[in-house]
Amino acid sequence: MTVTQTPPAAAAEVPSASRRRAPSAPGITQLVLRQLTRAGLVAIGVVLVGCAWEAYKHWGPKDGVTILGARVLPRTTDAAMPHLSTIWHAFGKPEVGGTITLGPSKTVADSVVDACLHTLRWAAAGFAIGVAVGFLLALLMDRLTVFERALMPYVVLSQTVPLIALAPLVTKWGQGSKLGSLEWQQWMSVSVIAAYLAFFPVAVGMTRGLKSPTAVHADYFRCSAAGWWKTLIRLKLPASVPYLVPALRLAAAAAVVGTIVAEISTGLGDGIGRLIITYSQQATGDPSRVYDAVIGAAVLGLAAGAAVTVFDLALWRYHRGASSR
Protein backbone atom coordinates (compact mmCIF):
# COMPACT_ATOMS: atom_id res chain seq x y z
CA MET A 1 0.00 0.00 0.00
CA THR A 2 1.39 3.36 -0.86
CA VAL A 3 0.44 6.59 0.80
CA THR A 4 -0.79 8.90 -1.92
CA GLN A 5 -2.56 11.46 0.24
CA THR A 6 -0.02 14.04 1.27
CA PRO A 7 -1.36 16.46 3.88
CA PRO A 8 -1.88 19.96 2.49
CA ALA A 9 0.85 21.43 4.63
CA ALA A 10 2.35 23.62 1.95
CA ALA A 11 -0.96 25.00 0.71
CA ALA A 12 -1.23 27.61 3.44
CA GLU A 13 2.17 29.09 2.63
CA VAL A 14 1.51 29.52 -1.07
CA PRO A 15 -1.81 31.30 -1.22
CA SER A 16 -1.69 32.33 -4.87
CA ALA A 17 -0.72 28.87 -6.03
CA SER A 18 -3.44 27.23 -3.97
CA ARG A 19 -5.96 29.71 -5.29
CA ARG A 20 -5.04 28.92 -8.85
CA ARG A 21 -5.33 25.25 -8.15
CA ALA A 22 -8.53 25.74 -6.21
CA PRO A 23 -11.21 25.64 -8.93
CA SER A 24 -10.14 22.10 -9.70
CA ALA A 25 -10.65 21.03 -6.08
CA PRO A 26 -11.67 17.41 -6.57
CA GLY A 27 -15.33 16.45 -6.58
CA ILE A 28 -16.61 13.00 -5.76
CA THR A 29 -16.64 11.82 -9.38
CA GLN A 30 -13.03 12.82 -9.87
CA LEU A 31 -12.05 11.05 -6.67
CA VAL A 32 -13.82 7.84 -7.68
CA LEU A 33 -12.12 8.02 -11.07
CA ARG A 34 -8.79 8.57 -9.38
CA GLN A 35 -9.28 5.45 -7.26
CA LEU A 36 -10.37 3.40 -10.27
CA THR A 37 -7.26 4.55 -12.12
CA ARG A 38 -5.23 3.43 -9.17
CA ALA A 39 -6.92 0.03 -9.15
CA GLY A 40 -6.16 -0.23 -12.87
CA LEU A 41 -2.50 0.58 -12.25
CA VAL A 42 -2.35 -2.09 -9.55
CA ALA A 43 -3.79 -4.61 -12.05
CA ILE A 44 -1.21 -3.61 -14.66
CA GLY A 45 1.47 -4.00 -12.01
CA VAL A 46 0.29 -7.54 -11.25
CA VAL A 47 0.39 -8.44 -14.96
CA LEU A 48 3.92 -6.99 -15.31
CA VAL A 49 5.18 -8.96 -12.31
CA GLY A 50 3.64 -12.10 -13.80
CA CYS A 51 5.38 -11.46 -17.13
CA ALA A 52 8.71 -10.87 -15.39
CA TRP A 53 8.25 -14.11 -13.45
CA GLU A 54 7.65 -16.20 -16.55
CA ALA A 55 10.37 -14.41 -18.54
CA TYR A 56 12.99 -15.02 -15.85
CA LYS A 57 11.87 -18.63 -15.48
CA HIS A 58 12.24 -19.16 -19.22
CA TRP A 59 15.51 -17.36 -19.87
CA GLY A 60 17.15 -17.22 -16.46
CA PRO A 61 20.01 -19.61 -15.52
CA LYS A 62 18.79 -22.83 -14.02
CA ASP A 63 20.91 -22.46 -10.91
CA GLY A 64 20.11 -18.81 -10.38
CA VAL A 65 22.72 -16.07 -10.19
CA THR A 66 25.38 -16.32 -7.53
CA ILE A 67 27.73 -13.50 -6.63
CA LEU A 68 30.62 -14.30 -4.24
CA GLY A 69 28.82 -17.38 -3.01
CA ALA A 70 25.57 -15.61 -2.26
CA ARG A 71 22.60 -16.34 -4.49
CA VAL A 72 21.10 -13.03 -5.58
CA LEU A 73 18.58 -14.44 -8.08
CA PRO A 74 16.60 -17.63 -7.43
CA ARG A 75 16.86 -20.92 -9.22
CA THR A 76 14.41 -21.35 -12.04
CA THR A 77 13.54 -24.97 -11.39
CA ASP A 78 9.89 -25.94 -11.08
CA ALA A 79 10.40 -26.51 -7.36
CA ALA A 80 11.61 -22.97 -6.74
CA MET A 81 9.58 -21.10 -9.34
CA PRO A 82 6.57 -23.01 -10.57
CA HIS A 83 4.83 -21.77 -13.69
CA LEU A 84 2.01 -19.31 -13.04
CA SER A 85 -0.39 -21.76 -14.64
CA THR A 86 0.76 -24.47 -12.22
CA ILE A 87 0.19 -22.11 -9.30
CA TRP A 88 -3.24 -21.31 -10.65
CA HIS A 89 -4.17 -24.96 -11.17
CA ALA A 90 -3.01 -25.82 -7.68
CA PHE A 91 -5.95 -23.79 -6.36
CA GLY A 92 -8.30 -26.41 -7.76
CA LYS A 93 -6.45 -29.45 -6.41
CA PRO A 94 -7.97 -31.36 -3.53
CA GLU A 95 -6.52 -30.76 -0.11
CA VAL A 96 -4.28 -33.58 1.12
CA GLY A 97 -3.90 -34.03 4.84
CA GLY A 98 -2.44 -31.01 6.61
CA THR A 99 -4.12 -29.29 9.48
CA ILE A 100 -7.15 -28.09 7.60
CA THR A 101 -9.21 -31.01 6.40
CA LEU A 102 -12.96 -30.96 6.57
CA GLY A 103 -13.82 -33.44 3.86
CA PRO A 104 -12.52 -35.02 0.73
CA SER A 105 -14.15 -32.39 -1.51
CA LYS A 106 -12.17 -29.50 -0.06
CA THR A 107 -9.77 -27.87 -2.51
CA VAL A 108 -6.71 -25.73 -1.91
CA ALA A 109 -8.74 -22.67 -2.92
CA ASP A 110 -11.31 -23.51 -0.23
CA SER A 111 -8.58 -23.80 2.35
CA VAL A 112 -6.99 -20.52 1.33
CA VAL A 113 -10.30 -18.64 1.37
CA ASP A 114 -11.25 -20.19 4.69
CA ALA A 115 -7.91 -19.30 6.23
CA CYS A 116 -8.07 -15.78 4.83
CA LEU A 117 -11.49 -15.20 6.35
CA HIS A 118 -10.23 -16.31 9.75
CA THR A 119 -7.22 -14.06 9.49
CA LEU A 120 -9.39 -11.21 8.25
CA ARG A 121 -11.62 -11.47 11.30
CA TRP A 122 -8.66 -11.35 13.70
CA ALA A 123 -7.02 -8.56 11.74
CA ALA A 124 -10.26 -6.57 11.79
CA ALA A 125 -10.47 -6.95 15.57
CA GLY A 126 -6.83 -5.89 15.86
CA PHE A 127 -7.42 -2.96 13.52
CA ALA A 128 -10.42 -1.79 15.55
CA ILE A 129 -8.53 -1.96 18.83
CA GLY A 130 -5.47 -0.32 17.28
CA VAL A 131 -7.47 2.54 15.75
CA ALA A 132 -9.34 3.13 19.02
CA VAL A 133 -6.13 3.16 21.06
CA GLY A 134 -4.29 5.34 18.53
CA PHE A 135 -7.21 7.73 18.42
CA LEU A 136 -7.40 8.07 22.20
CA LEU A 137 -3.65 8.56 22.47
CA ALA A 138 -3.82 11.28 19.80
CA LEU A 139 -6.65 13.04 21.62
CA LEU A 140 -4.70 12.87 24.86
CA MET A 141 -1.54 14.16 23.22
CA ASP A 142 -3.45 16.96 21.55
CA ARG A 143 -5.21 18.00 24.73
CA LEU A 144 -2.06 18.36 26.78
CA THR A 145 1.34 19.09 25.31
CA VAL A 146 2.87 17.45 28.36
CA PHE A 147 1.38 14.15 27.24
CA GLU A 148 2.78 14.54 23.77
CA ARG A 149 6.25 15.14 25.10
CA ALA A 150 5.90 12.29 27.58
CA LEU A 151 4.14 9.74 25.38
CA MET A 152 5.46 10.24 21.87
CA PRO A 153 8.93 8.77 22.53
CA TYR A 154 7.28 5.63 23.95
CA VAL A 155 4.90 5.43 21.02
CA VAL A 156 7.88 5.44 18.68
CA LEU A 157 9.86 3.10 20.94
CA SER A 158 6.98 0.61 21.00
CA GLN A 159 7.54 -0.14 17.33
CA THR A 160 11.16 -1.12 17.83
CA VAL A 161 10.23 -4.11 19.98
CA PRO A 162 10.39 -7.17 17.72
CA LEU A 163 7.01 -8.81 17.25
CA ILE A 164 8.53 -12.25 17.64
CA ALA A 165 9.62 -11.34 21.17
CA LEU A 166 6.27 -9.89 21.98
CA ALA A 167 4.07 -12.77 20.84
CA PRO A 168 4.91 -15.30 23.57
CA LEU A 169 4.59 -12.60 26.22
CA VAL A 170 1.12 -11.56 25.12
CA THR A 171 0.04 -15.18 24.91
CA LYS A 172 1.32 -15.83 28.40
CA TRP A 173 -0.36 -12.74 29.84
CA GLY A 174 -3.62 -13.63 28.15
CA GLN A 175 -3.71 -17.25 29.26
CA GLY A 176 -6.23 -17.83 32.02
CA SER A 177 -7.32 -14.20 32.20
CA LYS A 178 -10.93 -13.25 31.65
CA LEU A 179 -12.75 -10.40 29.96
CA GLY A 180 -15.82 -10.17 32.15
CA SER A 181 -17.37 -13.60 31.81
CA LEU A 182 -15.43 -14.28 28.63
CA GLU A 183 -12.51 -16.66 28.75
CA TRP A 184 -9.36 -15.34 27.03
CA GLN A 185 -9.07 -16.93 23.59
CA GLN A 186 -5.87 -17.52 21.75
CA TRP A 187 -7.03 -15.43 18.80
CA MET A 188 -7.36 -12.48 21.14
CA SER A 189 -3.61 -12.56 21.71
CA VAL A 190 -3.18 -12.46 17.94
CA SER A 191 -5.52 -9.49 17.62
CA VAL A 192 -3.75 -7.67 20.44
CA ILE A 193 -0.43 -8.13 18.64
CA ALA A 194 -2.00 -6.84 15.40
CA ALA A 195 -3.39 -3.86 17.33
CA TYR A 196 0.09 -3.23 18.68
CA LEU A 197 1.26 -2.62 15.12
CA ALA A 198 -1.90 -0.86 13.93
CA PHE A 199 -2.17 1.79 16.63
CA PHE A 200 1.13 3.43 15.73
CA PRO A 201 0.33 5.13 12.40
CA VAL A 202 -3.05 6.22 13.75
CA ALA A 203 -1.55 7.78 16.88
CA VAL A 204 1.10 9.64 14.89
CA GLY A 205 -1.18 10.66 11.99
CA MET A 206 -4.05 11.78 14.18
CA THR A 207 -1.77 13.80 16.45
CA ARG A 208 -0.54 15.69 13.41
CA GLY A 209 -4.05 15.99 12.00
CA LEU A 210 -5.54 17.38 15.19
CA LYS A 211 -2.80 19.99 15.22
CA SER A 212 -3.25 20.87 11.55
CA PRO A 213 -5.80 23.73 11.84
CA THR A 214 -4.04 27.07 11.44
CA ALA A 215 -3.75 29.70 14.16
CA VAL A 216 -6.50 31.72 12.46
CA HIS A 217 -8.93 28.82 12.75
CA ALA A 218 -8.02 28.25 16.37
CA ASP A 219 -8.40 31.97 17.12
CA TYR A 220 -11.74 32.09 15.37
CA PHE A 221 -13.12 29.19 17.38
CA ARG A 222 -11.85 30.75 20.59
CA CYS A 223 -13.48 34.06 19.68
CA SER A 224 -16.69 32.16 19.03
CA ALA A 225 -16.52 30.85 22.59
CA ALA A 226 -16.43 27.28 21.27
CA GLY A 227 -15.23 24.87 23.93
CA TRP A 228 -12.89 21.90 23.53
CA TRP A 229 -15.63 19.52 22.38
CA LYS A 230 -17.16 21.82 19.79
CA THR A 231 -13.73 22.74 18.47
CA LEU A 232 -12.89 19.05 18.22
CA ILE A 233 -16.08 18.11 16.36
CA ARG A 234 -16.35 21.10 14.06
CA LEU A 235 -12.68 21.95 13.44
CA LYS A 236 -10.09 19.43 14.53
CA LEU A 237 -11.67 16.18 13.40
CA PRO A 238 -12.69 17.41 9.94
CA ALA A 239 -9.26 19.00 9.51
CA SER A 240 -7.49 15.77 10.41
CA VAL A 241 -9.19 13.62 7.75
CA PRO A 242 -6.38 14.11 5.19
CA TYR A 243 -3.95 12.83 7.83
CA LEU A 244 -6.23 10.11 9.14
CA VAL A 245 -6.89 8.32 5.85
CA PRO A 246 -3.25 7.44 5.01
CA ALA A 247 -2.76 6.51 8.66
CA LEU A 248 -5.71 4.11 8.47
CA ARG A 249 -4.33 2.63 5.26
CA LEU A 250 -1.02 1.91 6.97
CA ALA A 251 -2.85 0.59 10.03
CA ALA A 252 -4.94 -1.79 7.91
CA ALA A 253 -1.84 -3.19 6.23
CA ALA A 254 -0.05 -3.40 9.57
CA ALA A 255 -3.00 -5.22 11.14
CA VAL A 256 -2.95 -7.88 8.40
CA VAL A 257 0.81 -8.36 8.54
CA GLY A 258 0.72 -8.33 12.34
CA THR A 259 -1.99 -10.97 12.41
CA ILE A 260 -0.13 -13.28 10.04
CA VAL A 261 3.15 -12.96 11.93
CA ALA A 262 1.38 -13.35 15.27
CA GLU A 263 -0.45 -16.46 14.05
CA ILE A 264 2.84 -18.05 13.21
CA SER A 265 4.61 -17.05 16.39
CA THR A 266 1.75 -17.99 18.72
CA GLY A 267 1.01 -21.17 16.79
CA LEU A 268 -2.64 -20.31 16.25
CA GLY A 269 -4.26 -22.56 13.65
CA ASP A 270 -6.90 -21.92 10.99
CA GLY A 271 -5.40 -18.67 9.68
CA ILE A 272 -3.48 -17.91 6.51
CA GLY A 273 -0.21 -17.54 8.40
CA ARG A 274 -0.52 -21.08 9.67
CA LEU A 275 -1.51 -22.27 6.20
CA ILE A 276 1.62 -20.78 4.67
CA ILE A 277 3.72 -22.74 7.17
CA THR A 278 1.76 -25.94 6.59
CA TYR A 279 2.09 -25.67 2.83
CA SER A 280 5.78 -24.90 2.95
CA GLN A 281 6.31 -27.98 5.06
CA GLN A 282 4.64 -29.92 2.23
CA ALA A 283 6.58 -27.95 -0.38
CA THR A 284 8.66 -30.89 -1.53
CA GLY A 285 5.45 -32.52 -2.71
CA ASP A 286 3.76 -29.48 -4.24
CA PRO A 287 5.66 -26.16 -4.15
CA SER A 288 2.93 -24.23 -5.94
CA ARG A 289 0.59 -24.40 -2.94
CA VAL A 290 2.89 -22.16 -0.91
CA TYR A 291 2.43 -19.53 -3.57
CA ASP A 292 -1.34 -19.99 -3.45
CA ALA A 293 -1.30 -19.22 0.26
CA VAL A 294 1.00 -16.24 -0.28
CA ILE A 295 -1.34 -14.92 -2.98
CA GLY A 296 -4.19 -15.30 -0.49
CA ALA A 297 -2.28 -13.23 2.07
CA ALA A 298 -1.48 -10.56 -0.53
CA VAL A 299 -5.13 -10.33 -1.62
CA LEU A 300 -6.08 -9.97 2.02
CA GLY A 301 -3.76 -6.98 2.37
CA LEU A 302 -5.20 -5.44 -0.79
CA ALA A 303 -8.75 -5.99 0.47
CA ALA A 304 -7.91 -4.23 3.73
CA GLY A 305 -6.49 -1.31 1.77
CA ALA A 306 -9.55 -1.21 -0.48
CA ALA A 307 -11.84 -1.09 2.56
CA VAL A 308 -10.02 2.02 3.75
CA THR A 309 -10.39 3.53 0.29
CA VAL A 310 -14.17 3.14 0.51
CA PHE A 311 -14.07 4.99 3.82
CA ASP A 312 -11.82 7.58 2.18
CA LEU A 313 -14.32 8.20 -0.63
CA ALA A 314 -17.15 8.56 1.86
CA LEU A 315 -15.21 11.43 3.43
CA TRP A 316 -14.31 13.15 0.15
CA ARG A 317 -15.74 16.43 1.41
CA TYR A 318 -12.94 16.79 3.92
CA HIS A 319 -10.10 16.06 1.57
CA ARG A 320 -8.59 19.49 1.42
CA GLY A 321 -8.41 19.75 5.18
CA ALA A 322 -8.13 23.08 6.92
CA SER A 323 -6.04 24.64 4.20
CA SER A 324 -8.24 27.69 3.69
CA ARG A 325 -6.38 30.91 3.93
Binding site: P15, P23, A25, V216, R222, S224, A225, R234, R320, S324
Partner: protein, 281 residues
Amino acid sequence: MSEPVPPAVELRGVNKTFTVKRGSVDALQDVDLRIERGEFVSLIGPSGCGKSTLLRIIADLLAPTSGDVWVNGKPARRARLDQDYGIAFQQAGLLDWRTVQANVELPLELHGVGRAQRRARAQELLELVGLADFGTHRPPQLSGGMQQRVAIARALAESPALLLMDEPFGALDEMTRERMQNELVRIAGETGAAVVFVTHSIPEAVFLSQRVVVMSPRPGRISEVVEVPLGARTDDTREAPAFYAAITQVREALRGRPVPEAVQVGAAVDAALRDKASGAL
Protein backbone atom coordinates in the same frame (compact mmCIF):
# COMPACT_ATOMS: atom_id res chain seq x y z
CA MET B 1 -35.04 56.78 32.77
CA SER B 2 -32.93 54.26 30.93
CA GLU B 3 -29.32 53.70 31.94
CA PRO B 4 -26.68 55.38 29.83
CA VAL B 5 -25.62 53.08 26.98
CA PRO B 6 -22.12 51.71 27.67
CA PRO B 7 -19.47 52.41 25.03
CA ALA B 8 -18.57 49.62 22.60
CA VAL B 9 -15.03 49.46 23.95
CA GLU B 10 -13.39 51.05 26.92
CA LEU B 11 -9.73 50.58 27.77
CA ARG B 12 -8.27 52.05 30.91
CA GLY B 13 -4.55 52.00 31.68
CA VAL B 14 -3.90 48.88 29.62
CA ASN B 15 -0.36 47.51 29.70
CA LYS B 16 0.95 44.40 28.04
CA THR B 17 4.38 42.96 28.64
CA PHE B 18 5.64 39.92 26.76
CA THR B 19 8.28 37.82 28.41
CA VAL B 20 10.99 36.92 25.95
CA LYS B 21 14.24 35.01 26.26
CA ARG B 22 16.23 37.98 27.47
CA GLY B 23 13.98 39.88 29.82
CA SER B 24 10.66 41.36 28.76
CA VAL B 25 9.21 43.65 26.11
CA ASP B 26 6.57 46.30 26.69
CA ALA B 27 4.13 45.73 23.84
CA LEU B 28 1.61 48.22 25.16
CA GLN B 29 1.98 50.98 27.67
CA ASP B 30 -0.78 52.98 29.35
CA VAL B 31 -3.39 52.66 26.66
CA ASP B 32 -6.64 54.52 27.30
CA LEU B 33 -9.27 54.38 24.59
CA ARG B 34 -13.02 54.76 24.43
CA ILE B 35 -14.96 53.74 21.35
CA GLU B 36 -18.61 54.73 21.17
CA ARG B 37 -21.40 52.58 19.79
CA GLY B 38 -21.57 52.68 16.02
CA GLU B 39 -18.21 54.41 15.76
CA PHE B 40 -15.63 53.36 13.18
CA VAL B 41 -12.11 53.53 14.59
CA SER B 42 -8.87 52.46 12.92
CA LEU B 43 -5.67 51.53 14.70
CA ILE B 44 -2.63 52.43 12.64
CA GLY B 45 1.10 52.34 13.24
CA PRO B 46 4.34 50.69 12.16
CA SER B 47 5.00 47.00 12.76
CA GLY B 48 5.52 46.19 16.40
CA CYS B 49 3.49 49.14 17.70
CA GLY B 50 1.09 46.74 19.34
CA LYS B 51 -2.03 47.47 17.29
CA SER B 52 -2.75 43.82 16.70
CA THR B 53 -1.94 43.08 20.32
CA LEU B 54 -4.45 45.74 21.32
CA LEU B 55 -7.13 44.20 19.11
CA ARG B 56 -6.41 40.77 20.54
CA ILE B 57 -6.75 42.14 24.03
CA ILE B 58 -10.16 43.60 23.17
CA ALA B 59 -11.10 40.21 21.71
CA ASP B 60 -9.88 38.47 24.88
CA LEU B 61 -7.45 36.40 22.86
CA LEU B 62 -4.75 37.92 25.05
CA ALA B 63 -4.99 39.08 28.63
CA PRO B 64 -3.52 42.49 29.49
CA THR B 65 -0.71 42.53 32.03
CA SER B 66 -2.58 45.28 33.82
CA GLY B 67 -5.49 47.62 33.18
CA ASP B 68 -9.21 47.26 32.51
CA VAL B 69 -10.86 46.17 29.29
CA TRP B 70 -14.59 46.65 28.89
CA VAL B 71 -16.59 45.59 25.87
CA ASN B 72 -20.25 46.57 25.75
CA GLY B 73 -20.02 47.43 29.40
CA LYS B 74 -18.77 43.95 30.34
CA PRO B 75 -15.31 42.59 31.10
CA ALA B 76 -13.65 41.38 27.88
CA ARG B 77 -13.90 37.71 28.81
CA ARG B 78 -17.61 37.94 29.51
CA ALA B 79 -18.11 39.80 26.23
CA ARG B 80 -16.29 37.06 24.33
CA LEU B 81 -18.33 34.31 25.95
CA ASP B 82 -21.53 36.28 25.26
CA GLN B 83 -20.52 36.83 21.63
CA ASP B 84 -20.72 40.58 21.88
CA TYR B 85 -18.31 41.01 19.02
CA GLY B 86 -17.66 39.53 15.59
CA ILE B 87 -14.13 39.15 14.29
CA ALA B 88 -12.34 38.92 10.95
CA PHE B 89 -8.64 38.33 10.44
CA GLN B 90 -6.19 38.98 7.61
CA GLN B 91 -6.71 35.40 6.52
CA ALA B 92 -10.34 34.56 5.88
CA GLY B 93 -9.95 31.38 7.92
CA LEU B 94 -12.93 29.63 6.36
CA LEU B 95 -13.48 25.90 6.66
CA ASP B 96 -12.87 24.40 3.23
CA TRP B 97 -15.04 21.34 3.78
CA ARG B 98 -18.09 23.49 4.37
CA THR B 99 -20.05 25.37 1.75
CA VAL B 100 -20.02 29.16 1.86
CA GLN B 101 -23.49 29.05 3.37
CA ALA B 102 -22.42 26.57 6.06
CA ASN B 103 -19.39 28.72 6.85
CA VAL B 104 -21.62 31.71 7.53
CA GLU B 105 -23.89 29.48 9.61
CA LEU B 106 -20.97 28.20 11.70
CA PRO B 107 -21.20 30.71 14.59
CA LEU B 108 -24.98 30.24 14.75
CA GLU B 109 -24.50 26.48 14.74
CA LEU B 110 -21.92 26.74 17.53
CA HIS B 111 -24.44 28.60 19.65
CA GLY B 112 -27.39 26.31 19.04
CA VAL B 113 -29.50 28.38 16.64
CA GLY B 114 -32.12 26.25 14.84
CA ARG B 115 -31.58 25.08 11.27
CA ALA B 116 -34.31 27.11 9.56
CA GLN B 117 -33.33 30.27 11.36
CA ARG B 118 -29.66 29.69 10.52
CA ARG B 119 -30.40 29.23 6.88
CA ALA B 120 -32.50 32.39 6.67
CA ARG B 121 -29.89 34.47 8.48
CA ALA B 122 -27.05 33.17 6.32
CA GLN B 123 -29.00 33.99 3.16
CA GLU B 124 -29.61 37.50 4.46
CA LEU B 125 -25.92 37.99 5.24
CA LEU B 126 -24.73 36.61 1.92
CA GLU B 127 -27.04 39.08 0.24
CA LEU B 128 -25.56 41.86 2.37
CA VAL B 129 -22.03 41.04 1.22
CA GLY B 130 -23.16 40.46 -2.37
CA LEU B 131 -22.60 36.71 -2.50
CA ALA B 132 -26.20 35.49 -2.53
CA ASP B 133 -25.52 33.26 -5.54
CA PHE B 134 -22.46 31.59 -4.02
CA GLY B 135 -24.01 29.84 -1.03
CA THR B 136 -23.37 26.35 -2.38
CA HIS B 137 -19.79 27.04 -3.46
CA ARG B 138 -16.85 25.97 -1.39
CA PRO B 139 -14.28 28.52 -0.19
CA PRO B 140 -11.44 27.30 -2.44
CA GLN B 141 -13.61 28.09 -5.46
CA LEU B 142 -13.78 31.77 -4.48
CA SER B 143 -11.28 34.58 -4.99
CA GLY B 144 -9.46 36.10 -2.03
CA GLY B 145 -11.80 39.09 -1.91
CA MET B 146 -14.86 36.88 -1.99
CA GLN B 147 -13.48 34.69 0.77
CA GLN B 148 -12.90 37.79 2.88
CA ARG B 149 -16.51 38.84 2.30
CA VAL B 150 -17.67 35.45 3.53
CA ALA B 151 -15.52 35.96 6.61
CA ILE B 152 -17.15 39.35 7.18
CA ALA B 153 -20.61 37.85 6.74
CA ARG B 154 -19.64 35.19 9.28
CA ALA B 155 -18.44 37.88 11.70
CA LEU B 156 -21.78 39.66 11.37
CA ALA B 157 -23.87 36.51 11.81
CA GLU B 158 -24.97 37.24 15.35
CA SER B 159 -25.57 40.94 14.77
CA PRO B 160 -22.74 41.98 17.07
CA ALA B 161 -22.60 45.56 18.31
CA LEU B 162 -18.86 45.46 17.71
CA LEU B 163 -16.82 44.24 14.77
CA LEU B 164 -13.10 43.60 15.25
CA MET B 165 -11.01 43.48 12.09
CA ASP B 166 -7.32 42.68 11.98
CA GLU B 167 -6.00 43.84 8.59
CA PRO B 168 -8.81 42.02 6.80
CA PHE B 169 -7.90 43.50 3.41
CA GLY B 170 -4.15 43.20 3.88
CA ALA B 171 -3.77 40.33 1.41
CA LEU B 172 -5.99 41.80 -1.32
CA ASP B 173 -4.96 43.69 -4.42
CA GLU B 174 -5.53 47.45 -4.51
CA MET B 175 -8.67 47.37 -6.71
CA THR B 176 -10.39 44.70 -4.67
CA ARG B 177 -9.31 46.49 -1.56
CA GLU B 178 -11.02 49.76 -2.46
CA ARG B 179 -14.18 47.93 -3.43
CA MET B 180 -14.14 46.06 -0.13
CA GLN B 181 -13.66 49.34 1.74
CA ASN B 182 -16.75 50.79 0.08
CA GLU B 183 -18.66 47.64 1.00
CA LEU B 184 -17.48 47.76 4.58
CA VAL B 185 -18.52 51.39 5.01
CA ARG B 186 -21.96 50.48 3.68
CA ILE B 187 -22.23 47.34 5.84
CA ALA B 188 -21.10 49.15 8.99
CA GLY B 189 -23.69 51.84 8.25
CA GLU B 190 -26.48 49.33 7.67
CA THR B 191 -25.74 47.22 10.74
CA GLY B 192 -24.90 50.11 13.04
CA ALA B 193 -22.00 48.14 14.47
CA ALA B 194 -18.95 49.82 15.96
CA VAL B 195 -15.78 48.75 14.15
CA VAL B 196 -12.21 48.52 15.38
CA PHE B 197 -10.04 48.18 12.30
CA VAL B 198 -6.33 47.43 12.34
CA THR B 199 -4.41 48.45 9.23
CA HIS B 200 -1.12 49.88 8.10
CA SER B 201 -2.55 51.70 5.13
CA ILE B 202 -3.05 55.40 5.83
CA PRO B 203 -5.63 56.02 3.04
CA GLU B 204 -7.57 52.97 4.16
CA ALA B 205 -7.69 54.17 7.76
CA VAL B 206 -8.73 57.67 6.72
CA PHE B 207 -11.36 56.54 4.24
CA LEU B 208 -13.02 54.13 6.65
CA SER B 209 -12.88 55.79 10.03
CA GLN B 210 -14.34 58.58 12.02
CA ARG B 211 -11.25 58.50 14.20
CA VAL B 212 -7.77 57.19 13.43
CA VAL B 213 -5.79 56.06 16.45
CA VAL B 214 -2.10 56.50 15.65
CA MET B 215 0.24 54.27 17.60
CA SER B 216 4.01 54.28 18.01
CA PRO B 217 6.28 51.40 18.87
CA ARG B 218 8.65 50.53 21.73
CA PRO B 219 6.75 50.69 23.90
CA GLY B 220 3.48 50.50 22.00
CA ARG B 221 1.26 53.40 22.92
CA ILE B 222 -1.27 55.78 21.46
CA SER B 223 0.62 58.82 20.22
CA GLU B 224 -2.29 60.71 18.67
CA VAL B 225 -5.95 60.40 17.77
CA VAL B 226 -6.89 62.05 14.47
CA GLU B 227 -10.53 63.01 13.88
CA VAL B 228 -11.65 62.52 10.27
CA PRO B 229 -14.62 64.78 9.61
CA LEU B 230 -15.41 63.59 6.09
CA GLY B 231 -19.13 62.90 6.34
CA ALA B 232 -20.71 60.11 4.30
CA ARG B 233 -18.09 58.15 2.31
CA THR B 234 -18.50 57.74 -1.42
CA ASP B 235 -16.04 57.08 -4.20
CA ASP B 236 -15.71 60.88 -4.53
CA THR B 237 -14.39 61.00 -0.99
CA ARG B 238 -11.14 59.50 -2.26
CA GLU B 239 -10.62 62.57 -4.46
CA ALA B 240 -11.67 65.18 -1.91
CA PRO B 241 -9.08 67.69 -0.62
CA ALA B 242 -10.25 67.02 2.94
CA PHE B 243 -9.37 63.34 2.40
CA TYR B 244 -5.81 64.28 1.46
CA ALA B 245 -5.60 66.74 4.31
CA ALA B 246 -6.56 63.97 6.75
CA ILE B 247 -4.02 61.62 5.16
CA THR B 248 -1.31 64.24 5.64
CA GLN B 249 -2.38 64.73 9.22
CA VAL B 250 -2.17 60.99 9.99
CA ARG B 251 1.16 60.70 8.19
CA GLU B 252 2.61 63.53 10.24
CA ALA B 253 1.26 61.98 13.40
CA LEU B 254 2.97 58.73 12.44
CA ARG B 255 6.29 60.45 11.80
CA GLY B 256 5.75 63.01 14.52
CA ARG B 257 7.60 61.75 17.49
CA PRO B 258 11.00 60.22 16.79
CA VAL B 259 11.65 57.20 18.93
CA PRO B 260 13.69 58.33 21.95
CA GLU B 261 17.14 56.77 22.13
CA ALA B 262 16.63 55.68 25.71
CA VAL B 263 13.76 53.29 24.98
CA GLN B 264 15.59 51.57 22.19
CA VAL B 265 16.51 48.31 23.80
CA GLY B 266 18.86 45.78 22.23
CA ALA B 267 18.29 44.62 18.67
CA ALA B 268 17.59 41.10 19.89
CA VAL B 269 14.65 42.22 22.02
CA ASP B 270 13.47 44.33 19.15
CA ALA B 271 13.44 41.34 16.81
CA ALA B 272 11.74 39.24 19.44
CA LEU B 273 8.96 41.80 19.74
CA ARG B 274 8.46 41.80 16.00
CA ASP B 275 8.35 38.01 15.96
CA LYS B 276 5.81 38.03 18.73
CA ALA B 277 3.72 40.66 17.00
CA SER B 278 3.74 38.91 13.62
CA GLY B 279 3.13 35.59 15.31
CA ALA B 280 0.14 37.18 16.98
CA LEU B 281 -1.41 37.96 13.61
